[in-house]
């Protein structure tokens, strides 16, 4: 059957955008939800946030940062090729209504995830301050698109190659310090980033929502691989989330669980790159 890639755009050497024909996903997709895809018939199930969708065309846009062997394989696909599986939309959508002044934070590939949220927040009538962060300028994505829907866009890079030097929390602290009222913060990115955002906003009692990214298998609530602890209760992030109240989330547990297969992942990447390398010599 297959799910065709009708457009590929290289956003940075390791970040690729794909538009995929998947009418059953596009038909009900909403900001904050995700898909689970498999590159080929032997592939692992990879969860990825829905970056955009077009119901008329029946297409869904995903943005992939190449990290493990699976996402690297995905990143090498070209326009016209097909994915073996593409299921969704999974998880609950972001609550998009007029909250007043919101700060939306995206770090790394989390920037792709906040793109439809920023747009939705703006369309719902909010005053939107967007903070995006990455290691370095070349890893920043969607800057112009986000600027177009944000009342203010703040960029932070670890090395200072663009915008503020520092983390997204550096930028958030500056906004708090200048006395801006904030009705809600929504942060999507690496777990450690969401943890530091939560720690910061807890001090100021600012309501904060995070979108959790634990290890998943099915993404539909039937395995419990994605369990997280929120307010002391065990929840399945794929079915009960992925968004939760940041101040209730046990981030240490999330970080620990995310590391569960880390050694194995490193081995796989090496193997993939080794094998990929051999093929070039043939």
């Amino acid at each position: 059957m297959g799910y065709k890639i009708i457009r590929k755009k290289v956003l940075s050497p390791t970040v690729k955008e794909f538009e995929i024909v998947a009418p059953l996903v596009a038909r009900r997709a909403q900001p904050g939800q995700f898909v689970v895809l498999r590159v080929d018939a032997d592939g692992e199930r990879i969860p990825l946030t829905i970056a955009d969708y077009d119901r008329q065309r029946g297409t869904v846009v995903i943005i992939v940062q190449e990290l493990g062997a699976g996402t690297k394989k995905l990143g090498r696909l070209e326009q016209g090729e097909e994915l073996a599986d593409f299921a969704g939309p999974m998880g609950n959508p972001t609550h998009l209504h007029n909250l007043g002044k919101v700060v939306v934070i995206g770090g790394g590939v989390g920037i792709a995830a906040i793109w439809p949220i920023v747009r939705g927040m703006k369309q719902a009538g909010n005053h939107v301050t967007t903070i995006i962060g990455a290691k370095t300028e070349s890893l920043l994505i969607l800057v112009d698109e986000l600027a177009g829907y944000s009342d203010e866009l703040v960029v932070a890079t670890d090395d200072g190659s663009r915008g503020v030097q520092g983390f997204v929390t550096t930028a958030l602290q500056a906004i708090i310090d200048r006395g801006q009222a904030i009705d809600q913060v929504l942060a999507v990115g690496p777990a450690i980033m969401m943890k530091t955002v939560a720690d910061l906003t807890r001090k100021y009692n600012i309501k904060t929502i995070v979108s959790l990214n634990p290890i998943m298998v099915d993404g539909t609530g039937m395995c419990g691989a994605c369990r997280v602890s929120v307010g002391g209760a065990t929840r399945f992030a794929c079915a009960d989330g992925p968004e939760f109240d940041a101040h209730q989330v046990d981030f240490d547990l999330l970080l620990s669980r995310l590391a569960m297969y880390r050694q194995r992942e490193r081995d796989d990447v090496e193997k993939f790159e080794h094998e990929g390398g051999c093929k070039v010599h043939e």
């Binding site: 039937m222 065990t234 590391a259």
Partner: protein, 464 residues
Amino acid sequence: MSDRRKKNSMPEQSPAERRRNFAEVALGYDAETARCEAARCLQCKTSPCRQGCPVEVDIPGFILHIRNGDFAAANEDLLRYNALPAVCGRVCPQEDQCEKLCVLGKNGEPVAIGRLERFAADYARENLPPAPVANVVRPDAPRVAIVGSGPAGVTAAGELAKMGYRVTVFEALHMPGGVLMYGIPEFRLPKAIVQHEIGALRAMGVEIVSNAIVGKSITVDELMNEEGYQAVFIGTGAGLPYFMGIPGENANGVFSANEFLTRSNLMQAWRADSPTPIFVGRRSAVVGGGNVAMDAARTAVRLGAEEVFLVYRRSRQEMPARHEEIDHALEEGVIFRTLTNPTAVRVDDRGWVSGLECVEMELGEPDESGRRRPVVKPGSEHFLPVDSVIMAIGQGPNPLVQSTTPNLRVNRWNNIWTDENGMTSRPGVFAGGDVVTGAATVILAMGAGKRAAQAIDRYLREQK
């Protein structure tokens, strides 16, 4: 000379050998042994065995064909009642069904009905030209949507296609088959057999849409109001894993049996070259006493765990698993810790499980299920060091369809309510299998699928 009071034994891989591979354990009868076993059947006029079979297979009938060497006829006989004989012969709890009522069982062992069923189906699949599958689907017939492709959904789909209806099966996962694909391991039910049956369904004209999560991708109401399905059958199963709710259960190395088995079976993590990781460690504890627990324990053995413990709070007598699987697990070296219950998972400073804190149990008064209730033995606290823990203490119904279909009546465990025909509180919406009954058996799910198909047919005729 074999003992006529005993079943002919079925060849198996030796425990030492099979501990290291995922190939099927039981190898099946050859033709001669099958005929010999069939000759044990007394051909009772009253055929009590039939009453034990949830779908009332004509057991003496198909056995007589085997005895006469007409294996094709035996298989055809079976298929009249049971669409998946190769599966049922392998996984039905025969000792609680047909074989329990067999007259020979009073004075020895019953006829090996399951083994004979398996033999006939395997023989036909392997040796006979595939029976020409008739695609009798009428292009103008009403359309029926089936949600879930486990035994219930697949059976309902097959029955409806035979009646000429246009049937589409929607499956959330990337492969159809339900528990037969993601839960029951290869060494007990080869996946090629399941896919063979799914292939037959497609040949009958049934369309199967995988990666379609009803409730998320599309709702039941949209199927009926926008996509033109005149009836819907919900067979979404009992796939929601339960945890015990004890401290430490979210540690690394603690898995639901569903996760562990899905990684191993559906994602093929048992193959060394699979991209999906799986962890078992040197010592593993499986909590539970049903088929799911046996499958998880035996998978852990094959994945290389040196010691696998089966921790169960009642005694071996109360274990709900098929007897054959309990025997197989013991033969393969699974260490049974019965009358034992975990009270906490001990977690090391890296966030990984280091063992189970347990108490011993004794059996007290019978509870509402008629089984004696386990109670804690005072002062019996002890520690079982392990590297992984697999929870196989039961599953609840998959909740997605219930939560997205207004006015669908459910009970307090969120099982879907149906009337005796399998119709839910929503006209035109039917349900069956584990999502209605709670986790049960393959054959009961198939029976429910078949009855619902008949009810859907009646319903659609009345609608005209």
